[in-house]
Structures are given as structure tokens and as C-alpha cells.
Symmetry: C2
Amino acid sequence: MARIVQKFGGTSVADMVRIKAAAATVKRELDDGHQVAVVLSAMVGVTDQLVGYAAEAGGAHYSSEYDAVLATGEQGTVGLLALSLQEMGIQARSWLGWQIPIRTDGVYGKARIENIETEALERCLGAGEVPVVAGFQGLGPDGRITTLGRGGTDTTAVALAAALGAERCDIYTDVDGVYTSDPRIVAKARKLEKITYEEMLEMASLGAKVLQTRAVELAMKSGQRLHVRSSYSDAPGTLVVDEDEIVEQEIVSGIAYSRDEAKITLVQVADKPGVAAAIFGPLADASINVDMIVQNVSAGGKTTDLTFTVAKGDLERAVETVAANKKKLQYKDLISDSDVVKVSVIGVGMRSHAGVAQRMFTTLAEKGINIQVISTSEIKVSVLIAEEYTELALRALHSAYGLDAE
Amino acid sequence: MARIVQKFGGTSVADMVRIKAAAATVKRELDDGHQVAVVLSAMVGVTDQLVGYAAEAGGAHYSSEYDAVLATGEQGTVGLLALSLQEMGIQARSWLGWQIPIRTDGVYGKARIENIETEALERCLGAGEVPVVAGFQGLGPDGRITTLGRGGTDTTAVALAAALGAERCDIYTDVDGVYTSDPRIVAKARKLEKITYEEMLEMASLGAKVLQTRAVELAMKSGQRLHVRSSYSDAPGTLVVDEDEIVEQEIVSGIAYSRDEAKITLVQVADKPGVAAAIFGPLADASINVDMIVQNVSAGGKTTDLTFTVAKGDLERAVETVAANKKKLQYKDLISDSDVVKVSVIGVGMRSHAGVAQRMFTTLAEKGINIQVISTSEIKVSVLIAEEYTELALRALHSAYGLDAE
């Protein structure tokens, strides 16, 4: 008998048909003699609708009321799944964040889980009952409802699995696992049997939408194995595990991309100490995340060109923020471009293999694709290229690193 | 400075436009120097949608999960109104049933409020903040969410007004008060300035949908004045008050009707002791409410005809329940008819005036309307007639009792 936490995402509880399918999945594990706890998202689209209402009410910023409104989505689905399970003759009950409680730090809209009290849930599991837990929500120190931010239900699931000492944490979603690249673009993309936490983390933060970054971090920290799998079939998906568990590690395990990128270039900015701080300080104050940064060596020595990227949605504000300091920065020109894409090659094998980046540059050059910005970490190389080359670049790199399915 | 509880129904929080209008109504009272607590329903239609989901999930019967699902509607509107108030610069916060808490007896789907702890709300009001309370929901003894049944938000509002010692309890709705009859049918219907609790109670239970019966009972018991008024204007509506407050009481204050009636006649049922119990016992066991009952004197002395009414939705089950006992009851025939309407004349003045019922019978006879069943109480006379005469009967009675507007 194993203890399993199952998480169903928004598309897996999209309507009563899908909720009943989720109930059948719970039953399958129970029939195999396992203990099951379930964590649910809101029905797909519901959270967006609630965010829309809150924005109309004037609550575009996070607040206690914003969270109270948003938390209703998960409250609905947990009740409906518990009902469906009961209808199948299975003992079940819903648990809201405040009932368990799942205690958070009280930061509205992006709270962090501080502690999950497991006493009540253990009693529930011990009595042969299936606890159906609302994801995405918790209880702040002041007794108010707090939500964990987008994709927070993944985090709830991983935190709960860790707290309950679950053997498995199954993440049910509308794809059947983690792929070497986006199968909608790269027809030869393969489903990975296993992937390391580190790689998954890079993939999540580089555009793959399968798992929330924080959830992967948490799983890595607590050593919680994740199983990303389809809610439409019982075929095995992808295991997210520790590096030790993967015997024959590929050098590169995936090619990710993100279209949510925009580039800003400052032409002939003064090349003297303090300039970078004068540019990026105000951006940080405006909560604009800067990703890649390159600064060229200046020709004459007096000025330099500086390029950096931000999320597309932040471009306008970023340009305004920089332009407000034009006098101080003394740049000649500001060029912005949102027709760019970031393509990344990811693999823990890179650490011990030379030439991975070189192969990327060569492959792109052979296809006539110009690299605008490069950024590297221990296990990934990212480049910024013109958006129109996205598909060409992904397919070429997928082949070049030997990832194509037979 | 007065303390006011304002309740907004489903149509008065139907969308963000209406929610902002409600916020403006709150502000108007605050600007006049009053303390305001607000109680809200879910957006109109939302509860029906949730009931539909729950039914699909197999939860047609009331249960803890049914209640958890249904309570989400009010949680959404209170958050959105609190946001709207904050946007207008007004201190406000939402309160869910479990946060106050509003303690109930724990009967899912139709819980009764046992106690409202006012400490937190008093602190909130004392600090100049507007508490925005979710109607329809409370906390059961086991820490689960319970709902109060249809129209339960009225009950929450009245109970809260009583608990907080509010001077006024304003019920904002989509009509501008209580009328002498349904204005959609009786063009000459007048808005009543005042009506007694007893009359309002009869009207509510006889088909007028302005206020929930339990809320009126509770108001009567606690002596809480209610003000039924429109959320579309600030014109005065109708005050629901104690009889003492109405100096010149009309004999009849309103004509109500209900189409939700069905009639069952048992032809030639045995006329002996125990028969009524044998008919109505099983109906009660099946939770079918029987309203009017008439039994004619039998011609020969051996058998009699017995007629009773039930809600339209219960007719099929009622017929099945009676038919299952046919052997025991030995009736000759069972006739059911759902094309009937109950028309009622209501007024506390009846107690001290003779001839009120007689005038009703005469008026209907003059119009050639046959009375099928009669039932009377201290302050009302109800008759069952063929549904096709509804409009004719209402208008004739409205004139006959001198209720027509000039």
C-alpha cells in the first residue's frame, strides 16, 4: 500500500464529465489498495473570469478581497469531486485551506505555504476517507484567505505530498508527460521517461507550462518524486526525479522556447561606472523583471551599446521607465523589439560535456539564423533570435542534439 | 447616527455595474453619518448553476459538499463589493460565515442560525470599517460550511441586524416595495407604505417572492423593522413593522396568488376513522407538504370524496405515494389537476371585521369563477380556482376590496 497525492489541473476538472473521470482515476488507485489524497485546481477559465471581475471592481492589485474572490473556484471543484466520489460509493470529503489549515505567510496573491497541519487529514486518511483538498489557497496569520499565485495548485500538491510523506505525487494534466520539445512544433519530439528536477526547473521557467517553477523547487528541496501524466489515459507519463535516479543521462534533454520576450537596446550609452545601476535600478523599483543582458565593448571607449530583455507585457512600462532617465543615461537612441523568441537547450549532462553551446551556435548559423543575445547557466544555453525563425530553430536543434524520435 | 444593515439580493449584485451601484448605496448612508453592515446574495443565476453542477455530480440531496459548492457564490460577491468600496476610498472587508462565525445547527442545505458572534464585527464597525457579510452561509458544529436554504440571505440579514442591534434592516431588491397585488397583472396595484409582519408572512408563504418566510418570522420575533426597497432608486419602499405601528389599518392589505399548486381528489374513499392518517402519513414520510385539505360529507355515509393540494413539483410523487396504498384506502378513482391557482386575500383587519370571506366568494361568483377548495386562517382567505381565471380573479378582488389606485 502506497500513499499517493493526485493533483488535477484546470482542464482535468473542466466540467462534470472531466470531474467524473478524475473520480474514476481516484477509484483506480483505491482499488489497487493505495491511500489517496487529491488536490484540485478551479475549472479551466474560472480563475480568469474571477480575475476579470476583480479588475472591474478596481482590484487589479493583490489584496485580501482579491484572494477571497479567487479562492472560490477551487472551493467549487473540491465539493463537486467529493460528491462524485460519494456517488461512486467512496468515502470522501472536501477540505478548504482554512479547514486543514494550510498556513501561509499572508502575502495576498502570491502567498507562500509555511506549514500544513496534517492531523485532521491523517485522521481522514486513517478512516479510509479520501480528502479532496482545494489547491491554490491557504490561511494567512490574520485569519484571511490567501492565494498562492498562478499555478499555485502544483505547489499545494507538492507541499501536501511532502507533509503527508506520500510515496508519489501524480500531476494529472492535459498532456501525457514532459517532451523533449513542444510536439505541436517539433513532430519528432519524444516523451521523456524521466527528467531531473534541475532540468524541469529550467524548462518551467523557460516556457514549458507543464509545472509551476515553485512546485518543482519545492519537490527538489523535499526530494518528492513527481509523476506528470495525462488525465485522459492511465499510460505512464514523465517522472521528475533526482539526478542519481537517471543512469544514462543524455547530454541535452530538451529544447524549450518562450515567445514572451521583448528586447530593448540602448545605443551609445555612456560607458562609465554606475550606468548599469542607473538603468536597472528604476526597472527593479517598477517590479519589471530583466532577463538577459549584454553589453558590447565600446569602439571609442566613451560609449557602448547595451541590450536587455523583459517580458512582453512589461515592454511599454520598461521603455517609459528607461526613457524617464534619458538625461542621466545620455544614450543616443532606444530601440525596442518584441518580435523575438528565446530558444533554450537544457540538460544536466552539459556540466560534464564540452561543445554543447558551440553545437547550438553552429546549427543556427547553418540555417542562417542570427543570434541576438546569448545567456548561459550551468545546465542551459539560451539565445534570443527573431521570432519568425522559432519553428526552424527548434526542429534543427532537436535533430542536432539527437533528440528526434525514430 | 443610526446603525443600518443593508441586504442586496441576487439581481442587485448581478454584475459589476450593479455591484458598484450597491457600493454607491452604501456610501450614501455613510455620508449621512450612519454605520453600515452589508449582507449579500450570490449573483443572480449563479446559485442555480451551482445546484445544476451538484446535481450532475450526484448530489441532488443536501450534504456537506453540496453546501461547500453553493457557498462559493456569496464568497465571490462579498469580495467584489469590498473591493468596489475600497476603490471608492471606503474602508471595507468581506466576512465569510466561518470567519465571523455565524454558527448554525449543522443541517446541510437548510441550516438554522443558532448564534452570531458579533465581537469581530463590532470591532470592524467601531474602526469605521464596513463589514460585507456573505449571506446564506454559516459554520456547522463540525467546522463545515452550512447553507440556509433558498432565500437564506434574507435570514442572515435579519439575524445580523438583530445581533448588532441595528436600527434599520434595508432589503434592497429589484422591486420598489410590497404591492397590494402583482403589478404585472393588476395594473391598479399600489405600493404599500407599511405592512405588518403577519401579513408579510402570509404574503411570502402565499406566493409573493419579496421576502423569505423565515426572515419575516425572525424579524417578527425580534421586533426588527424591515425596509423593502429598490436597489435602482433611493425612493422609500415598504416598511414591515409591528401591528401597533399602523394606525389606520385597512381590512385587506393585499391579494396574493400562487401558481405552484396541484390538486388531487380521491373519489369515494372509505369514510371511516384512520383514513386521513393512512393518506397523509405516507405523504409526510415522503416529505411532501400538503397544503389545503377538504373532505365532503358523504351521501350514503359509507364513502366520501377527499381533495388536497400539493406543490406542482411534488404532484407526481404524491400520486405515486397515494396509489401505492390503494388497496388499503379502497378509493374508486384518483383525479389529479395541476391547472389550478391559489388566490388569497390577506389582512390583519379581518380579525375584527365580518364579511371579508363572503365578499370574496360573491365577487368570484359574479365573475362566474368556480371555487374548488377553500381554506382560511385568522388573517387570510385562500381559494383554489382554475388557473385560466387567475388574472380575472385578481383584478376583480383588488377592486372589490377597495385596493385600486386612484
